[in-house]
Amino acid sequence: MKTNHQKVLVIVEIALLTALAVIFDLIANLTQIQLFPNGGSISISMLPVFVLAYRRGLIPGLVSGLLLGTLQTILGVTYYLFFLQFLLDYTLAYGLVGFAGVFFKWVQSNNNKYQIIGIISGTILGGFLRYFSHVLSGVIYWARYIDSTDSVDFSKGVTWGDWLFSMGYNATYMVPSVIICAIILVIFNKVARRIYTVD
């Protein structure tokens, strides 16, 4: 059973690390090439979500991801094209990153090898789920939104071209992001292990 102090601490940590993620996003916007309009920049803003997932477990990770998506909405850095796109590109996309917390036990173990495997697989899992969410949103955008003035129309088939286009477009920023995050997170484990552990 968690004490009240631990509960409050987890809440505050989620809040502060999400704030940190927003800051990373701001810094990335200044220093990097902003080529893609909808959330598609190579940035390290997922990093705090991963750290939280490895430090506190699955649920805090998920909450932190959801919070990051919501925070970006409030700060108005989002692109709102239609409702489903919005959910998939922001709320769900970042929320899914928190699933890296599945490997919480691995990262917390005492075996160095397990820690690294846990970190890398968690990062790939979280990154892949976010990527999938963006791909889905892209497919819906290109396949449905363009063709129909009416509404998002689910009666038509999706062509391979739609999938291919969306997968390619989203891979251009997601793959580098995930690789950079994985490298940084593994180095964290070596140089500053206390980021992942709670004393």
Binding site: T31, P37, L67
Partner: protein, 328 residues
């Protein structure tokens, strides 16, 4: 480096739109994005445009801010428009374009896209690279388009390019551009005129029915407010760490990718440690003041629902009714 960051989009001002209840604004902005998809002919689009224009012009927010929020998405809008132009194939076709006109269009399109991409790069990349990027992107686009216009006929991919533009495609493309602009104007108006703290309060109220399912709405709202409160503080800390590491010889702008990662880690590790320390302090402070997660809390700021809010909501309902009646 971090001096010119502006957090959030709130603009100081005062007008009837500023004084509206944030709950009404939040729900109605979302509602607008749902109902705009019901518009499908010129009369409904005209109504939607006039409606948005009326709100935008009387809201007291200068128009240049709307232009600024649409600017980053111009590439996407035009890309959608052009794709729509070539993929949308219903209705009467316009007279088939002959091959020379095609090439001119391809070149103009290529130059246009290249220009857009180049302008994106100008902020960060050395000036002498710009012409190079421009040339490469132009070339790539022209090549791709010429290749596509010559018989690359993947029927399975539905990429058959006949370069016939249909009349409906033009109209439809126009509607898409209009719709995107309307949606972005409406949603930026919300963030322009509502303080982030008010918006958080509104989200808490709107989500409060989820409390029945034991969803911790008020804890979530608390986390949002803490985040918002601590973004400037942590930004200041980031600046401090940045300066400290720079004075020790770290250089965040130069070097190859390996150097850059090492430099960035020298910034990230202190930031995480500082955040955890702050969290510990804040948690202690909150506990000392009797905060217990899950208990009912009162708020210093109370939202008030006025008569104008009713009128605002009513106007959206009338717009919906208009859409339902006049849409084809």
């Amino acid at each position: 480096m971090l001096d010119n960051i502006k957090l959030g989009q709130y603009l100081h001002g005062d007008s009837w739109y500023y004084r509206l209840d944030p709950r009404g604004k939040l729900v109605m902005s979302t509602f607008f994005i749902v109902i705009i998809f019901m518009a499908n002919n010129w009369i409904t689009y005209l109504a939607a445009t006039l409606f948005t224009l009326l709100i935008v012009l009387t809201s007291g927010v200068p128009l240049k801010y709307f232009y600024r929020s649409i600017k980053p998405i111009v590439v996407l809008i035009f890309f959608t428009f052009f794709l729509n132009l070539f993929f949308y194939r219903t209705g009467t076709p316009l007279p088939p374009l002959n091959i020379i006109i095609n090439k001119i269009i391809v070149i103009i399109y290529g130059v246009f896209v290249a220009l857009l991409i180049t302008f994106r790069f100008t902020k960060v990349i050395d000036r002498y690279i710009i012409p190079k990027i421009f040339k490469i992107t132009t070339l790539v686009f022209i090549l791709i388009n010429i290749l596509l216009s010559y018989g690359l006929n993947y029927t399975e991919f539905s990429w058959s390019f006949h370069w016939i533009i249909y009349k409906n495609a033009l109209i439809n493309g126009g509607y898409i551009i209009l719709r995107l602009i309307l949606i972005i104007s409406m949603s930026s108006l919300l963030t322009f005129t509502t303080k982030p703290t008010d918006l958080t309060l509104a989200i808490e109220h709107v989500l409060s029915p989820l409390k029945i399912f034991k969803f911790p709405v008020s804890e979530l709202a608390l986390m949002i407010s803490i985040s918002l409160r601590f973004i400037p503080t942590l930004l200041e800390e980031t600046q401090k760490v940045l300066k400290a590491q720079t004075s020790r010889g770290a250089d965040f702008t130069e070097g190859n990718i390996k150097d850059k990662v090492i430099q960035i880690i020298s910034l990230l590790v202190p930031m995480f440690i500082i955040s955890f320390k702050r969290a510990e302090e804040l948690a202690n402070a909150m506990e000392a003041r009797g905060y217990i997660p899950g208990r009912k809390r009162t708020s210093l700021r109370e939202l008030r629902w006025r008569f104008t809010d009713n009128i605002y909501v009513l106007s959206f309902i009338l717009l919906t009714a208009f859409f339902i009646y006049f849409r084809s």
